[in-house]
């Protein structure tokens, strides 16, 4: 046991947040000591209801992490149990204790594994260090949620976010949403995988991909971790291209692993790389976005658009979404729940389109029954690709209705 060594390197540490404007989080400060057991103080806005429970949980987490002697001060702002465990574990690790140990919250039932070609119209970004957004995210019914470890997390909070997101994947019921995870840029992202693959996210977004090798590396790592944990369900990949070089390599990137199910683009970084401003109609990124669509179709995966950053302008969002669908994208990112219904509408076929497609499909089926080689609707001949497109559209319309 490395107890003696730990004691020498142990230091005071803290984790989490508290204050008037903080909700559903807590702050833990921990001062390791050599003797005297655990001295825990608690201030909580919910102490009348959960004070005893928080103290018991704190002791249990510290015990699991092997911390026997410490002064621990907790300021709680109504954090849920999975958050409490996360913050305590982070403080313990920052103090140089508890190495190799984890305080895992109980697991909620794992949802059914996600299909390769499921609907991915919307994905709601959840900053990995903001626990208050997790619990109700699925109520807003995005097709997917993304637990983000990358750009929305300050570099000093990467360790905390990783533990918090791990606990969220175990303890939070995300309903019918696909549970996506955005890891950090490699190589830090590989460490994220070690901690998080055991919790079986449905899909991993890999940021700032420029070469197929990066996807191959992530894919290999996930494969090894899955084998080690005996995980059989699929964990898909969605590379994010955010540079001119990445765009040039788009097809090779998508083709780098059979687990890639979608390809997307990060327009803030991409436009920065070009040295141009991002506009509302996106003309500066038309080439890049078209390359994304083309590469995706060539590899048989979904093309997914970037996010729209003005959360107040729903009309502009609608226009962006409709344009994006017209270019061949099948979905986009959302940074606020209010964007979700607008995005869903934009990426769903209109009633007129559906009606026309249904007529074409019906004409095709009738022609098949009558053994005719040529499909016609009214006075018009219908070519096979038109039939195929109509079939796709009808299938999609059925899926989006649910």
């Amino acid at each position: 046991m490395s107890g003696a060594k730990e004691k020498r390197t142990a230091q005071a540490a803290e984790a989490g947040h508290w204050g008037k404007d903080v909700r559903s989080d807590l702050h833990v400060s921990l001062e390791p000591s050599d003797s005297g057991g655990l001295e825990i103080t608690l201030e909580s806005r919910v102490s009348a209801y959960y004070g005893t429970s928080i103290l018991a949980q704190t002791r249990q987490v510290l015990e699991t992490l092997g911390v026997k002697h410490a002064r621990v001060a907790i300021h709680d702002e109504g954090a849920l149990p999975f958050v409490i465990s996360s913050r305590i574990e982070t403080a313990v690790k920052r103090a140089g204790l508890g190495s190799g140990k984890k305080a895992m919250p109980e697991k909620v039932a794992l949802p059914a594994s996600s299909a390769r070609d499921r609907l991915r119209r919307s994905r709601l970004y959840l900053p990995g260090s903001e626990p208050k957004y997790f619990i109700n995210a699925s109520l807003h019914q995005p097709d997917a949620i993304i637990l983000d470890l990358e750009d929305s997390v300050h570099h000093a909070e990467k360790d905390a976010a990783r533990i918090l997101v791990r606990n969220a994947l175990r303890a939070v019921d995300f309903g019918d949403c696909e549970r996506m995870l955005r890891i950090n840029q490699l190589p830090l992202g590989l460490e994220d995988l070690v901690e998080l693959i055991p919790e079986q996210p449905d899909l991993v977004l890999v940021p700032k991909v420029e070469h197929p090798g990066q996807i191959a590396e992530v894919d290999r790592m996930i494969g090894e971790l899955k084998a080690r944990q005996d995980i059989n369900r699929a964990i898909w990949l969605m590379p994010i291209i955010e540079s001119a070089l990445g765009i040039e390599n788009a097809f090779a990137i998508v083709a780098a692993s059979p687990n890639v199910v979608a390809l997307t683009i990060g327009l803030e970084d991409y436009t920065a790389d070009l040295g141009v401003a991002r506009t509302v109609d996106g003309r500066e990124s038309l080439y890049a976005r078209s390359r994304i669509v083309n590469a995706s179709r060539a590899a048989g995966v979904q093309a997914i658009d970037s996010v729209f950053s003005d959360v107040a302008d729903m009309e502009a969002l609608r226009q962006w979404g409709e344009n994006s669908r017209a270019l061949g994208f099948e979905g986009m990112g959302c940074i606020h729940p209010s964007q979700i219904p607008v995005v869903h509408a934009a990426f769903s076929p209109s009633p007129a389109e559906v009606e026309k497609a249904e007529k074409i499909v019906a004409a095709f089926e009738e022609a098949q029954q009558r053994g005719l080689g040529v499909v016609s609707l009214g006075s018009k001949m219908i070519d096979p690709p038109v039939v195929q497109r109509a079939q796709k559209l009808v299938t999609r319309a059925k899926a989006t209705k649910q």
Binding site: Y50, S53, N136
Partner: protein
């Protein structure tokens, strides 16, 4: 200090004191079970010979008016709260009484506000004996801790009218802040630098008090048009520099909530009203000025436009959102109980379709009907709801006083009463086994809308049938409660309450519905 209290169980099974501030009380008997008899209270007879023929009732200052009004120890002094947190007149009157060496007053405001926290000093120095009216913030804490000498009495807006009219509270001197008035005492709330809109909460005070003093910072030559307070009820008029802080009287703009979860609740409420067929031509609704209620109005308004539906009247808590509906032709009238923002004040001052109302027309239960029960649907908040649909709006789950009742109890008589609440706040479940303080009986609460689903009171089979087959997330209240307890990590501990009553909650008929117990 505290009187020795005998406690009785009322019809809701709650323990309530049988005597409050020396007056015997009848425990709550059930909804519609108490039969009131007798005649209304009345102010003393007066004669024109004692008032100036030229109609000029002005006095130089409030102290003179209080003295002439016969202010004595132990009297009941009243104020209205239309100036909200910006009011200066209530404290002006109480401090003038303090300077005159007066003690043991009962302060009877229609509501108190945090900026009036120096009333605590006046209670400590003995000027005020106790407060009968809503208490929150520092005053709520003071009362909750058992520091007030008498027992707080919490009434709804309609219950306040009922108590005055039935003679349960006799106002000795009413001091009415008036944004505009003439020297005869006619007063209006919609004009002047301190405009606040409706003055309805002061109407009963003006009709039933022994002495009525109007205090204004905008004296106009007779006649003050329009008037909501009739000068014929007024004894004295006092002119002051300022009756309040305009910035705190009305908010510049009322804000819709930005919280995605609360927006979801608001949208579900609107969708429920549409799916249940409540939103139809000629319907009516009431919603307050809280974040969820405002967002609800915005969603409903969009749906009304989509469906080409128009309301006959809306009630509020009026804000810019209701005013815009009026301008868009989505409602024929606004029946206004209180006026929250600048747009609403401008509207009530200029648009004859935007009408001030009073607790008499809207809320009084001992009358020949009221508006609240004629409303098709009302959207309200609550701090807790229990599995029997009982609601709490006055205390926090730990028993501390948090809100006044306002019009909440009175509104429960609407044809469809909807509570729009988050299922938990900061880990504290809102849906509980039993409310901490019973403020509204579950038989009057029809629908509870949370972000996790819509629970319909099983007694309302008609509503359950009306939304059958819709894609609304209708669930049982027990199911939502169980889910929330799972998220919050188990059932919360029951906070320990003291055994001394610090306030009582009156039902709309003046009977005692529940007790607020000392905390901490």
């Amino acid at each position: 200090m505290s009187e020795r209290v005998e406690l009785a169980h009322n019809a809701a099974g709650r323990k309530v004191p049988s005597v409050v501030n020396g007056r015997p009380q009848i425990p709550y008997l059930g909804v519609g079970k108490y039969q009131v008899r007798g005649r209304k209270a009345a102010p003393p007879l007066r004669s024109n010979k004692d008032y100036p023929d030229n109609g000029d009732k002005r006095l130089p200052d409030l102290t003179t008016a209080l003295k002439k009004g016969g202010l004595r120890d132990g009297m009941v002094i009243s104020n209205h709260h239309h100036l909200r947190d910006g009011d200066r007149v209530a404290l002006m009157a109480l401090e003038a009484a303090a300077k005159l060496g007066i003690r043991d007053l009962t302060w009877f405001p229609s509501a108190s506000f945090p900026s009036q926290k120096s009333a605590i000093d006046l209670m400590q120095s003995g000027v005020i004996h106790h407060i009968e009216g809503s208490m929150n913030g520092p005053l709520g804490d003071y009362c909750s801790q058992g520091k007030m000498r008498g027992t707080g009495v919490l009434r709804s807006h309609g219950g306040r009218w009922q108590a005055i009219q039935d003679g349960e509270v006799h106002i000795d001197i009413a001091i009415i802040a008036a944004p505009t008035a003439d020297a005869f005492g006619n007063a209006d709330g919609s004009h002047g630098k301190s405009a606040c809109g409706s003055l309805g909460f002061a109407l009963a005070d003006s009709m039933y008090a022994d002495t009525v003093i109007v205090v204004t910072d905008n004296l106009v030559p007779f006649p003050c048009i329009p008037w909501q307070i009739q000068g014929n009820n007024v004894d004295y008029v006092v002119e002051v520099d300022s009756i309040g802080d305009p910035a705190k009287i009305v908010s510049g703009t009322t804000q819709i909530t930005r919280s995605p979860d609360r927006l979801r609740i608001a949208e579900l409420v609107a969708r429920f009203m549409r799916e249940a067929g409540i939103m139809r031509n000629g319907f009516s609704f009431q919603a307050g000025a809280g974040g969820i209620a405002l967002a609800f109005v915005d969603y409903l308004r969009r749906m009304m436009k989509e469906d080409g539906v128009k309301a006959r009247f809306v009630r509020g808590g009026s804000t810019r959102y209701l005013v815009e509906m009026l301008h868009e032709g989505l409602t024929d009238y606004i029946l206004d109980g209180q006026t929250f923002d600048l747009d609403a004040v401008k509207s009530i001052a200029s648009d004859p379709r935007h009408v001030p109302t009073s607790p008499f027309t809207s809320y009084n239960y001992h009358g020949k009907g009221n508006f609240a029960s004629m409303v098709d649907a009302v959207v309200l908040g609550a701090t807790e709801v229990d599995v029997n649909f009982n609601g709490n709006v006055v205390t926090h789950s730990d028993g501390r006083l948090l809100h006044g009742i306002g019009g909440w109890q009175n509104c429960l008589f609407a044809k469809c009463t909807i509570l729009a609440v988050p299922s938990f706040r900061d880990r504290i479940p809102v849906i509980v086994d039993e409310v901490t303080t019973l403020t509204g009986p579950g038989e009057l609460i029809d629908v509870v809308v949370t972000e996790r689903g819509i629970a319909i009171n099983p007694q309302r089979q008609d509503l359950l049938d009306a939304v059958k087959g819709s894609n609304l997330p209708v669930r049982s209240i027990q199911e939502i409660k169980a889910e929330v307890e799972q998220i919050c990590g188990g059932r919360p501990a029951k906070p320990k309450l003291g055994d001394r009553p610090v306030a009582v909650v009156k039902w709309v008929d003046g009977r005692v519905l529940d007790t607020v117990w000392q905390v901490g």
